[in-house]
C-alpha cells in the first residue's frame, strides 16, 4: 500500500485527528510559556470548568447527531442553576431539589420538542426564541443578583476532588460520556439516532419513528442542561444569573470541533470530549499567561475560526479521497 493510499485510508477513518493535534499543540504552547500550566492546581481548574460545558455538550451532541439542535440548553442550565438554589434555600433537602430541577429541565426540553415536532417550527428559530425567554426569566427572578447557597451537603458535589486533582463533576461528565458512547454505538436506539440524523426520510421508511427519537433527544438535552446548571451552582456555591449565557454556543462549538456533523448522522462522544478539552485548555491557558481579558474573547473566536478552517481543509481532502474510492471501485 502506497503512502498516498494509506493517508487516504487514514482520512476516511479519522474524524478527530486534526482537532486532537490542535489541542495538544495548544497545551504544549502554554506549557512552554509557563511549566506551571500542567501543575496539579491548574489541571484541576481546567477539569472543573470542563464539566459544565461537557455535560451540555453531551446533550447537544446527541441532538446534532440526530439532526436536531436546541439553542436554549445554556439558558435551561442557567435557569436550573437558579431554581436549585432557590429550592434548597426554601429548606427542601438538596437531593430532592436536584431531582425536581432535573425534571424541570426535562420538561423545558419537552417544550422544544413540541414546538419542533407538533407545530413543525424550524428547530434553530424555535429554540432561539426559547433561549431568549428563559434568559429573560432568569433576570426577572434574580434581578441580576447572585443567589448564595449556604448548604454544605450541596456544595460537596462541586467541591469534592479525588486525589485532590480530579473533581467529582469531571468524573460525572466522564461516566455520562462513556454511558452515551455505549448507547450510541451498541444499542438499536443509538443506531436509530444516527440513521435519523443521516436521512430522516429513509429512516422513517425503514420503520424508525423519527418523532419519537426527536422527543427523547430534546427531553434528554433539557435534563442534562439542568444537571449542568446544578453542578455549576454547586461549584460556585452560588447561582449566577449569567452562568449559562454562552452554554449552547460553547456546546455546539465543542461538538462540531469534535467532529459531530452539523447536519447530523455522524460523530461521537470521544470527539465531543476532545472539543471540550481544546476550548477549556485554551481559555485557561490565556488566563494563565496573563493575556488581557477582552483580548481573550478575540483569541477564542480566532481559535474557533482557525479550527474550522483546518476541518474544512481536512474534510475537503476526505471527500476527495472518498470520490477516489468511489471511482476506483466502479
Amino acid at each position: 500500500m502506497s503512502i498516498k493510499s494509506l493517508s487516504r485510508k487514514l482520512l476516511l477513518v479519522s474524524n478527530n485527528i486534526a482537532i486532537l493535534l490542535v489541542a495538544i499543540v495548544v497545551i504544549l504552547v502554554f506549557y512552554s510559556q509557563n511549566p506551571n500550566f500542567l501543575h496539579d492546581d491548574n489541571i484541576r481548574n481546567i477539569m472543573r470548568s470542563m464539566a459544565f460545558v461537557g455535560i451540555l455538550t453531551i446533550g447537544m451532541g446527541m441532538l446534532l447527531i440526530g439532526g436536531e439542535v436546541d439553542l436554549s440548553s445554556g439558558a435551561v442550565a442557567g435557569l436550573s442553576g437558579v431554581l436549585v438554589a432557590m429550592l434548597i434555600n426554601t429548606g427542601i433537602p438538596w437531593g430532592w431539589a436536584i431531582v425536581i430541577t432535573i425534571a424541570f429541565g426535562a420538561s423545558l426540553g419537552l417544550i422544544s420538542a413540541l414546538l419542533v415536532n407538533v407545530l413543525g417550527f424550524m428547530h434553530f428559530i424555535a429554540t432561539l426564541g426559547l433561549m431568549s425567554v428563559y434568559q429573560g426569566v432568569i433576570l426577572v427572578i434574580t434581578r441580576n443578583v447572585f443567589i448564595p447557597v449556604p448548604n454544605e451537603g450541596f456544595r460537596l458535589i462541586g467541591g469534592t476532588s479525588f486525589g485532590n486533582i480530579v473533581p467529582l463533576p469531571f468524573i460525572i461528565m466522564l461516566v455520562l460520556m462513556i454511558a452515551y458512547t455505549l448507547v450510541l454505538s451498541n444499542t438499536g436506539f443509538g443506531r436509530s439516532v444516527y440513521m435519523c440524523g443521516g436521512n430522516r426520510k429513509s429512516a422513517r421508511l425503514v420503520g424508525i419513528k423519527p418523532k419519537k427519537i426527536s422527543y427523547f433527544l430534546y427531553i434528554n438535552n433539557g435534563a442534562l442542561g439542568a444537571l449542568a446548571g446544578v453542578i455549576i451552582t454547586s461549584q460556585m456555591a452560588t447561582a449566577s444569573p449569567v452562568a449559562g449565557q454562552t452554554g449552547s454556543i460553547d456546546a455546539i462549538t465543542a461538538a462540531v470541533l469534535g467532529g459531530v456533523a452539523f447536519k447530523g448522522g455522524s460523530g461521537g462522544m470521544f470527539g465531543c470530549f476532545i472539543g471540550i478539552l481544546l476550548i477549556n485548555s485554551f481559555s485557561a491557558g490565556l488566563t494563565f499567561v496573563g493575556f488581557p481579558q477582552y483580548w481573550q474573547i478575540v483569541a477564542r473566536g480566532s481559535l474557533l475560526v482557525l479550527a474550522l478552517c483546518l476541518d474544512y481543509v481536512i474534510s475537503g481532502a476526505r471527500s476527495r479521497a472518498l470520490e477516489h474510492a468511489l471511482r476506483s471501485h466502479n
Binding site: 436521512n199 429513509s202 448522522g265
Partner: protein, 497 residues
C-alpha cells in the same frame, strides 16, 4: 472530444456536428456520457482532449459564464432560477433594463417580457414569482431566458421528465419556434416517441463512445434501440424463471382515496407480481406510499391476509410484513453516509440484541449474507453505501428486506431499475421472480413499458391518480398500455402513438 475521470472514461473520442435549424437528439443508456457532454458544452466540465467549434470558431470555455456569453444555454431538469423573483426579473437577470436614475425600468421590463411571452404564444403573468409557477411554466421561462440571451445553441436535458401531456405539446411548439429561428437545438430524452416526433438527427452514445448517427426520418425505433443497448432485449424476459403457483389473495384495496389518488381498487395474490404502469406523476408512488403507511389515507379499505388494516406509520407496515423499495434510493431508501451493515440491519435491530446491547456478530452475519446473496460488489460490509454504484445500492435495499429475520410478505418495488445498467437490470428481474416463487406478493412500479410487460403477471395502468385499466401479460402490448396511460390525450385528439 474526450473526458476522463479517475478510473472512468466518460467520453472517448466523440465527434459529431449539429446544424442550425435542426433538432439533434442525444441518446444512450444511463452512463453513456450524455450528461458529461452537456456539462462540457455548458462550461461546467473541461474536456481533456478535443475541440468544440461554434460557427467555425474554436471555443474555449473557462466557466459556465463564458459558455453563456458564447451563446450556449442548457436547460437542466432542475430549474436554475430564483424562485422568489418574478418571471420578468428571471428572464432578464443580468441584463435588467435601467431608467435614467439607474433604477430598474419596470414598465420596459414588463413590455419586453410580454413581447417574448406573446412571441411564443404562452400565457404566463410576467410579474408573478417564478416559484409559484408550475414546473412546465418554469421551464418555459427558462427557455425564454435562453432565447433572450440570444443563445445560438439551446440544449435540453430530459425536459419532459416531469411534464404533463398538454405541457409537452406546448414545449414542442416552443422548440419548433426555436428551430425556425435557426437555433441549434440539442435534446436529451429517453422517450422514443418524442425523439421521433421532434428530432431531425440522432446521435447515439454508449459507454462514452459514439456508436452511430442517424437521420431520424431514415431509421426506426428498433434500429435505434438495438444501437443503444447493443443486444436483443427480448430474450431477457423469455429466459426468466417464473413462479407458476399463485396462492390465495394477499392484499385487497377497496375504493382507496388519498390526497393524490382516487377510487383505487385492486388485489394481489401470494406469489403474484403485479405491475403498475403509467406516466411520471400518474400517482403510482403516492398510492404505494399510502398503502405503506407513509402517506395519509382519506377513505377506503386495505385488507391484508383477510383482515382490515390501518397503519399509522411505516413502522406498523413493516411489522405486518410490508417492505418498500422507494423510487428515490438515495433520498428515501438509504442512509448514504452509513455502512452497508447499518443499512441492512436497521429494520431488524430489535431482533438482534441481547438484553439491550446489539449483537454485532449477528448483525455482521446478516449483512454478509445479503452481500453474498445478491452479489453486491464491495470490498467489505463496512463500506459506506455512498461508495457503491446504483445497482449495488439497490441490491443492499433488497438484501435489507429479504434477510432471514424479516418476514416480508408484500414487497413494493418503485422503479427498482432506474439508473441501473442493463446487465444489473436482468439480475433484478430474476430476483423479482424469485421473490414470487417464495410466495411473496410483489408490486412492481416501472415507467419502462417493456420491463413491466416482461416481468409482471398483470399490469395495472394509472393516469391522473386513477387506475384506467388492467391487462394480463399475455394480452399486453406497449401501444395498449400507452393509450390507457395517456387516454386524455386521445380524447382531445392528440397523437398518443
Amino acid at each position: 472530444m474526450s473526458k476522463s475521470f479517475p478510473g472512468v472514461k466518460a467520453l472517448d473520442n466523440v465527434s459529431f456536428r449539429a446544424d442550425g435549424g435542426r433538432v439533434l437528439a442525444l441518446m444512450g443508456e444511463n452512463g453513456a456520457g450524455k450528461s458529461t457532454l452537456l456539462k462540457i458544452l455548458a462550461g461546467d466540465y473541461f474536456a481533456d482532449e478535443g475541440e468544440f467549434l461554434l460557427n467555425g470558431i474554436l471555443q474555449n470555455f473557462t466557466s459556465p459564464y463564458s459558455a453563456i456569453m458564447a451563446g450556449i444555454s442548457v436547460v437542466y431538469q432542475e430549474r436554475q432560477m430564483i424562485p422568489a423573483l418574478s418571471v420578468m426579473e428571471n428572464i432578464f437577470a443580468g441584463a435588467l433594463p435601467k431608467n435614467k436614475l439607474g433604477l430598474i425600468d419596470k414598465p420596459r421590463l414588463k413590455k419586453e417580457t410580454m413581447a417574448l411571452i406573446n412571441k411564443f404564444e404562452l400565457s404566463i403573468d410576467p410579474s408573478v414569482p417564478v416559484g409559484s409557477l408550475s414546473v412546465a411554466h418554469q421551464q418555459m421561462v427558462e427557455i425564454m431566458k435562453a432565447y433572450r440571451r440570444g443563445s445560438a445553441v439551446i440544449a435540453f436535458d430530459e425536459p419532459t421528465a416531469s411534464l404533463a401531456e398538454e405541457e409537452i405539446t406546448v414545449l414542442f411548439k416552443l422548440i419548433e419556434a426555436l428551430k425556425k429561428e435557426g437555433k441549434i437545438v440539442i435534446y436529451v430524452s429517453h422517450r422514443m416517441p418524442e425523439i421521433f416526433e421532434l428530432s431531425d438527427d440522432i446521435v447515439v452514445l454508449k459507454d462514452g463512445a459514439l456508436v452511430t448517427t442517424f437521420i431520424t426520418s431514415e431509421t426506426t425505433v428498433d434500429e435505434l434501440i438495438t444501437s443503444m443497448v447493443g443486444r436483443d432485449i427480448g430474450d431477457t424476459y423469455e429466459n426468466l424463471s417464473r413462479n407458476t403457483e399463485v396462492g390465495e389473495t394477499l392484499l385487497e384495496i377497496k375504493n382507496l382515496v388519498t390526497h393524490d389518488v382516487h377510487n383505487i381498487d385492486f388485489s394481489l395474490k401470494r406469489g403474484e407480481i403485479i405491475g403498475f404502469a403509467g406516466l411520471i406523476g400518474a400517482g403510482r408512488t403516492e398510492l404505494v406510499r399510502a398503502i405503506f403507511g407513509a402517506n395519509e389515507i382519506t377513505s377506503g379499505e386495505i385488507i391484508f391476509e383477510g383482515q382490515k388494516i390501518d397503519f399509522k406509520s411505516p413502522f406498523d407496515a413493516i411489522k405486518a410484513g410490508f417492505a418498500l423499495c422507494p423510487e428515490d434510493r438515495k433520498e428515501e431508501g438509504l442512509v448514504l453516509y452509513r455502512s452497508i451493515t447499518d443499512n441492512v440491519s436497521i429494520p431488524v435491530l430489535s431482533k438482534i440484541r441481547k438484553a439491550l446491547i446489539l449483537d454485532r456478530k449477528a448483525e455482521a452475519k446478516l449483512a454478509s449474507t445479503a452481500v453474498e446473496k445478491y452479489a453486491v460488489k464491495t470490498p467489505g460490509i463496512d463500506k459506506l453505501v455512498v461508495e457503491l454504484s446504483g445497482g449495488n445500492q439497490q441490491k443492499v435495499i433488497l438484501g435489507r428486506w429479504t434477510n432471514e429475520l424479516m418476514n416480508t410478505k408484500l414487497l413494493i418495488l418503485d422503479e427498482p431499475t432506474k439508473g441501473i445498467d442493463v446487465g444489473a437490470k436482468a439480475e433484478i428481474y430474476q430476483t423479482i421472480c424469485d421473490f414470487a416463487k417464495q410466495g411473496i406478493g410483489v408490486i412492481f412500479i416501472s415507467s419502462e413499458l417493456t420491463e413491466v410487460i416482461g416481468v409482471a403477471d398483470r399490469i395495472y395502468v394509472m393516469r391522473n391518480g386513477r387506475i384506467t385499466g388492467c391487462v394480463d401479460r399475455s394480452d399486453a402490448t406497449e401501444e395498449g398500455i400507452l393509450s390507457l396511460a395517456m387516454a386524455d390525450k386521445d380524447e382531445t385528439g392528440g397523437d398518443a402513438q
